[in-house]
Amino acid sequence: MGSIYGPVTDWQNDFDHTDPEYNERIHEIWDDLLNAKKCPVAHTERFGGTWLPMTHEHVREIAYDTDHFTSRAVVVSTVKPDDAPIPPLPAPIGAAPPITSDPPFHQEARRLLLPAFAPKMIEPWEKEVEKICHDLIDAMGDREFIDAAVDYAQHIPVQVIARMLGFPLEDADKFRGFVHLVLEAVNESPEARQAAFESFNEYLDRQIQDHKDNPRDDLTTYLMNAEIMGNKLQDEHVRGTIVLILIAGIDTTWSGIGSSLWHLAGHPIDRGRLVDNPDLVPSATEEFLRAYAPVTMARMVKDDHDFHGCPMQKDDWVLLPFPAANRDPEVFEDADKVIIDREENRHAAFGLGIHRCLGSNLARLEMNVATRVFLQRFPDFEFAQGEQTKWSIGQVRGPRKLPVRVLARRPRP
């Protein structure tokens, strides 16, 4: 299995965000594309036509413009929604509401979920997340070499989301397999993707049936009983929202935690400042979110549309790289520097406009706690010599392998 397009040889005219090089060399590639100044927005024929705006102004404009850009598909892949073998619910609902929904339905679907993710509902999770983090570190024993992504970051959001949805904790590997399917295997053949999606759907149907038989206090049961304008949600809506929570709740935060630790492994001064002053962690987290924002969203062009001279055509993909917007010198001073006590930080890591990440409060909590606990237990660490960080592929960027050497450790308090 692999990309149907092959490696990129001409980044300026034929970029591909799923080429492994893209996430590895992302800052160079953006600079290169920005300097090329063809159309103000980069373009590739891959995936049936894909645009890549990169300035804060352009990213913001598209994020706010729900008239010309639809959210009915938000992950660029070889399959456009109209060609899917199992067609998603039609617009304005889409395959994974509310992220794939357009106004006015979007607001109804989102309102159902907002209370569960509001700050005051998320704050009580802090103790639980702290325990998860300490348990993971305990499980590493006294190993000198650990993988901060594989042994630590990847487990934290999985455990939280499985608890929230009421799914078996032992299915964590399955969830990560689904994440890979939805977000990384996007350049594989439509046939390969169809088969994998069928098994994903079967798994979810089994979990939903289990909740029908044994209703309990979790998000899955809540969704099955929820109503929009007096009607229960369609089965596909319930399943789609679970897909959203499962995928978006796992990969993104795992990447955010991993990128924070990646930065700290290479920057001893920042590491020391945070060890000496853990109260600085929330500000550092915001800066890591800005500088290493994990998520690039996508839209589709609703109808042929001229965007600042770029001839966008109906059903073209448009990537929305919030991470690139976050490095725009027009909006951020010293945009290319990581400043952990940056005072003014309007970063767009969680998106802009009506689709602001629903789980942002949870993601922030997990990132803050994960960094704080890691530094508390491992006040000194560095990249393991001779080993490589391996970055994810596609629209969510973060380390998938992050081998580090522990230089100092402290017991669980």
Binding site: R111, P115, L352, N361
Partner: protein, 65 residues
């Protein structure tokens, strides 16, 4: 000094609430609103400015008396 959350722009990022909980609160949906009719008590002016400068949606307005 007064602060105001522009309701139409706020998307619930909650930066103001976490940076200046003395000046902002959030409702059950996670959307922010100003406390005390937006009047900023003496000594909290810097916090008000900090909240404004960290809003991703440019949804906070400050008026100086």
């Amino acid at each position: 000094m007064r602060v105001r959350v522009i309701k139409e722009k706020c998307q619930g990022h909650n930066r103001c609430y976490s940076l200046a909980p003395e000046l902002f609160d959030v409702d059950d949906l996670g959307n922010a609103f100003e406390l005390n009719d937006g009047v900023v008590p003496a000594g909290l002016e810097d916090k008000a400015r900090l909240a404004m400068k960290n809003c991703p949606e440019f949804a906070i307005e400050i008026t100086e008396d």
